[in-house]
């Protein structure tokens, strides 16, 4: 009896959270699922079409091409953000005025919106009026200012450069917190045992901040899988639709072609893919993390 009472009390405690999740996650998700099974358009409610939108999605070459491009982009940018963020964190983790100032400077672009920074970089990277091309020519690195977005590969790397500039400070900050959470006593003990700087980083700091590393990687991977703004503004999916990301293609269908039902089906498929990848990531993390 007492046990049951306690269980009810526990349920009461989690009820607000459950209600929140039900109202803001489960219900919209169910609505999305319902929408994905209709031919709804912005210009009319449409009718029930069952799994037709999903079947259409499996035949939609541009969707799978955009997914492949999104995975390629994620695979390229994630290591740069992780390794770069960690190295920067090592540089600025120690207390000191210069370290604090550097931390602030590297973090500064994080507070700019991704849309604003993308617009800024479109101008800076332009062949005719941009400063980057002119700088490269003046430094003698290239004969003519490059046209960055004329080639899908080059365009992707240009976007990666701008996104790294924009978000690396966020990873750095998380890593700084991870590094600082490693006890000074452990590090001192390693020093007394004669461990050098990189040995301490490899055998002490890294293993003790595994959870931070995994969390930061997960956040970065999900962010990259949902990339939209930077490609919408900088490449517009070009050249020849080669730089459409999955979300960009969903946006095209839902809001440009007005096909809301089909867009919802694509969203559900992407959601499933992100969910599977995140689950795999978490499973690996759970196995690899110290008990």
């Amino acid at each position: 009896m007492r046990h049951s009472h306690r269980r009810h009390a526990g349920l009461l405690y989690v009820l607000p959270a459950l209600l929140f999740v039900a109202a803001f996650v489960a219900w919209p998700l169910l609505q999305l699922l319902r929408l994905s099974m209709t031919s709804a358009s912005m210009l009319g409610p449409g009718s029930f079409v069952g799994w037709n939108n999903y079947l259409k999605a499996f035949r939609d070459e541009t969707f799978w091409q955009s997914l492949a491009f999104t995975l390629q982009y994620t695979a390229c940018i994630t290591p740069i953000l992780m390794v770069g963020g960690f190295l920067l964190a090592l540089l600025v983790a120690e207390p000191g005025r210069i370290a604090r100032a550097t931390r602030g400077i590297v973090f500064l672009p994080v507070v700019i919106g991704l849309g604003s920074s993308s617009i800024l970089w479109v101008g800076l990277l332009d062949e005719q009026v941009g400063l980057v091309g002119r700088l490269l020519v003046d430094l003698g690195l290239v004969a003519h200012p490059p046209v960055w977005f004329v080639d899908a590969e080059l365009g992707m790397w240009a976007v990666i450069g701008t996104v790294v500039w924009k978000v690396i400070g966020f990873g750095m900050l998380l890593f700084v917190a991870g590094i600082q959470s490693v006890g000074i006593d452990v590090r001192e003990a390693a020093m007394l045992d004669g461990a050098g700087y990189w040995q301490r980083v490899r055998h002490i700091t890294l293993p003790l901040m595994t959870r931070t590393l995994l969390l930061t990687t997960l956040v970065s991977v999900i962010g990259s899988l949902l990339a939209f703004d930077q490609f919408y503004i900088m490449t517009a999916g070009g050249p020849r639709s080669e730089t459409f990301t999955s979300v960009y293609w969903i946006y095209q269908n839902s809001f440009i072609y007005f096909k809301q039902g089909y867009g919802a089906a694509l969203s559900m498929i992407l959601l499933a893919i992100v969910l599977v990848l995140s689950s795999v990531h978490l499973l690996i993390a759970r196995r690899g993390a110290p008990a």
Partner: protein
């Protein structure tokens, strides 16, 4: 019984008041709501301000971000909560009329003396199955713009814009020869909207028919399409166009021209005011977008239409506003006085534009302009993956002119059949 008494008393009071000469209070003034897309907000504000200053019934504007107009109107119609008037990108007119979002105003506009003077493109676009659902509001139109300073340096007559496609090519070559940083021609090669606005009129001027109004119609019909694409291809391979054009998704549609290094390009009437403000030292001229032969010219009529959404609570008053906005007063004092093009072609040459002949040319372009009457405009043209932009890129940058046209035709037919 009681109601009947009340009515009788009211009628008596009315009769007494009329007989004694006592002024009755006016009927309460109404407040109309109007939605306008953000890019047309300035012009709409000028017009509604003028209306509000002279009418008891007032109009309140709500500015809607451009990309939200369709969803807002669709949701509003569905929920029975729509504004009394709406102004939106004219290209959505066919889709909105077919979806049943708009009120039929045919009978009311039939006898209106000003309606017949509105640029033809607006009247055609706002008609569906022989019925009228809106009219021109705040137009913009495409023109050819050229740098007179570069024309002079290249030995060209600065008062003669190119009048054929061949002349564009010839002049562009001469301007390119001026130096490594100077280019003869520019267009935004990755921008579907910019190209339907500035490139398609050259095709239309050369006799092409662009987009299919119905499933059976042939898209991109006529030799004009190939002639223009071939011209662009030739100018591209000859280096007359900057390399950055290939990747420009519209972000630098006019930025390069403002730098003073571009000789000729298609643009919109809006650029005149822009250039005067941002490049005051530049001497530039405007002309019509030409076709293959002298005398051929066209333009793309853009801008906004005004209509009454189905379910408007003040439809009669909204109709009054629509009639008023076509009057001389609204067109001249509300638009032309503020350097905004009137939608009536007969007012192109007006007292306010006398000091700026380039605006007169732009206003005249409205009269020769076209706008495609087509469903699924976004799918066919405006989207970043549209067959229209794929065709331009394949033809101009890859050199596959015929294959690109054939591919675009096939895809457009599929879209038209949806």
């Amino acid at each position: 019984m009681r109601t009947r008494n009340l009515v009788r008393r009211a009628l008596c009071a009315l009769a007494l008041a009329a007989g004694s000469g006592v002024a009755l209070p006016a009927l309460a003034a109404e407040n109309l709501s109007m939605w306008v897309r953000a890019s047309g907000a300035n012009a709409a504000q000028r017009l509604t301000d003028l209306w509000n200053s002279g009418h008891a019934d007032k109009i309140t504007l709500t500015v809607i971000p451009d990309n939200q107009v369709v969803s807002k109107l669709a949701n509003g119609v569905g929920a029975g909560n729509v504004p009394d008037l709406i102004s939106f990108d004219l290209i959505y007119m066919p889709d909105f009329m077919r979806a049943g979002f708009l009120t039929d105003i045919t009978d009311a506009m039939k006898g209106d003396p000003n309606f017949g003077k509105v640029a033809k493109a607006f009247a055609e676009l706002a008609s569906y199955k022989g019925r009228l659902y809106g009219t021109g509001f705040t137009p913009d139109v495409s023109i050819l713009i050229y740098n007179k300073d570069l024309f002079r340096k290249a030995g060209l007559d600065p008062n003669q814009p190119p009048r054929t496609l061949a002349q564009i090519h010839e002049y562009a070559k001469k301007i390119r020869a001026l130096g490594p940083d100077t280019y003869g021609f520019y267009f935004s090669g990755a921008c579907p909207g910019c190209n339907i606005f500035t490139t398609s009129p050259m095709m239309v001027a050369s006799g092409a028919k662009m987009l299919p109004a119905a499933a059976g119609d042939e898209p991109l019909a006529g030799t004009g399409v190939k002639e223009v694409l071939q011209l662009f291809r030739d100018m591209w391979t000859e280096g007359l166009i900057p390399k950055s054009a290939q990747a420009d998704n519209g972000a630098n549609f006019v930025a390069n021209f403002k730098s003073g290094k571009i000789g000729i390009q298609g643009a919109g009437g809006f650029l005149i005011a822009d250039l005067k403000k941002e490049a005051p030292g530049m001497d530039f001229g405007v002309g019509f977008l030409p076709g293959t032969k002298e005398g051929q010219a066209s333009a793309f009529v853009g801008g906004d239409v005004v209509a009454i959404p189905k379910g408007s609570k003040h439809a009669a008053l909204a109709l009054q506003f629509i009639k008023w906005e076509l009057s001389d007063e609204a067109q001249l004092e509300g638009l032309a006085k503020n350097n905004i093009l009137p939608s009536r072609a007969d007012l192109a040459d007006n007292k306010y534009f006398q000091a700026e002949p380039r605006v007169v040319t732009t206003a005249k372009a409205l009269g020769i302009g076209y706008v495609p009457w087509v469903f699924h405009f976004n799918d066919m043209v405006n989207s970043d993956a549209s067959p229209w932009i794929q065709m331009i890129q394949g033809a101009v940058f890859d050199g596959k002119v015929d294959a690109s046209i054939a591919k675009a035709k096939a895809r457009m037919r599929e879209i038209a059949a949806e």
